[in-house]
C-alpha cells in the first residue's frame, strides 16, 4: 500500500537473486531426469490428455453426465498444459514427443460405463502420481502431488 518504491539498488539485487535461482533450477533439471529416453512426466501427461478427451466425449454423449465430467475435462486439460510446459522447459529434445494431440476415444456404451471408466483412470493417475511425487526432483514433486491430489478428488466426484 504505502510502501516506498524499491530503490534501484534493491531491484538489481532482486534480479541477481532470480538469476541465481534460475540457474539452480536448470542444474536440478539436468540431474534429476537424465537426458536419455522419455521424460518421467510424459506418462502422467498422456494420462491427463486421455482423461480430458474421454471426459469431453462422455459429456457430449450423455447430457446427464455433463455437469460432473465438465470439471474433469477442464482440470485434466490444465494438468496436461502444466506437465507439457515442464517437459518442454526441462527437455527441449522431447518437445516433439509431447506435441502430439490425443484422438477422441469412442464414446462409452452408457453414462454409467463412462463414469466408471473415468473413475478408474483418475484413480490410477492418483496412485501413479503419488508414487512419482515421492521420487521426483524437489521442484517437480509439488506439481506432481497437486495433479495426483486433484485426480483423487475428481474420482470422488464420480462415485
Amino acid at each position: 500500500m504505502d510502501r516506498p518504491p524499491p530503490s534501484r539498488r534493491g531491484v538489481l539485487r532482486a534480479a541477481a537473486g532470480l538469476a541465481v535461482a534460475g540457474s539452480a533450477l536448470a542444474v536440478a533439471a539436468a540431474c534429476g531426469n537424465g537426458d536419455e529416453g522419455p521424460d518421467e512426466l510424459e506418462a502422467p501427461l498422456a494420462a491427463a490428455r486421455a482423461d480430458a478427451a474421454l471426459a469431453t466425449v462422455a459429456g457430449r454423449a450423455f447430457p446427464d453426465l455433463a455437469a460432473r465430467v465438465g470439471p474433469v475435462a477442464s482440470a485434466r486439460r490444465a494438468h496436461a498444459d502444466a506437465l507439457a510446459a515442464e517437459v518442454r522447459r526441462a527437455r527441449p529434445d522431447r518437445a516433439d514427443a509431447v506435441a502430439s494431440p490425443v484422438p477422441d476415444p469412442p464414446p462409452p456404451a452408457s453414462s454409467a460405463a463412462a463414469a466408471a471408466a473415468l473413475r478408474t483412470s483418475l484413480g490410477a493417475a492418483r496412485d501413479a502420481g503419488s508414487e512419482l511425487a515421492v521420487r521426483a526432483a524437489r521442484y517437480r514433486s509439488g506439481l506432481v502431488a497437486s495433479v495426483a491430489a486433484a485426480c483423487g478428488g475428481l474420482a470422488e466426484t464420480l462415485t
Binding site: 470439471p71 477442464s74 482440470a75 490444465a78 494438468h79 502444466a82 492418483r126 503419488s130 511425487a133 515421492v134 521420487r135 524437489r138 521442484y139 514433486s141 509439488g142 506439481l143 502431488a145 497437486s146 495433479v147 495426483a148 491430489a149 486433484a150 483423487g152 478428488g153 475428481l154 470422488e156 466426484t157
Partner: protein
Amino acid sequence: MAGPLDDTDTRSAVQAVLGAEHAAIWSAGLATAYLPAGEQTALADAALAHRERRDALVALCEAAGVAPAPAAAAYATPRPVTDAASAAALLAVAEDDTAVGWRAVLERTDDPELRRTGVAAVVSAATVGVRWRGLAGTQPLVASFPGMR
C-alpha cells in the same frame, strides 16, 4: 547423522504445516457441533488423519531436537461459523491450508518418508474437500492444483 530437518528451509516448512494441522484439528472440533449426524463419521475420520499427521510432525521435530510449533488455544475463522454449511466451508479452508503446507514441504525435502506422508496428505485434503465443499454448496468441488498457493 543428517536428518530431514537439518535444513532451515525444510524446518520452517515443517513447522508451518504443523501449524496448519493444529488448526485443522481445532476446526474439526468446532465443526462437530454443527454437522448433521450423517457427517460425523467422515468428520471423525478426517480429524483422526490430522491428529496422526500432527503426531508424526511433532515426533519428527522432537527427534531432531527442534521445539515443535504449539497449537493455539483458538483460531480466527475466515467467516462466522453458525450452521452446517458454514462449518463445512471452514473445514474446506482448513484442508486447503494443510494441502498448501504439505506441498511446500514436498518441495523442500528429499526424505522419502516425509515425501510419502506429504503426498498422502495433499491427496487426502483434495478428496475429503469434495465432501465439505458439497456440504457448503461451493464450486468447484476440486481445485485443479490442490496445494498450489
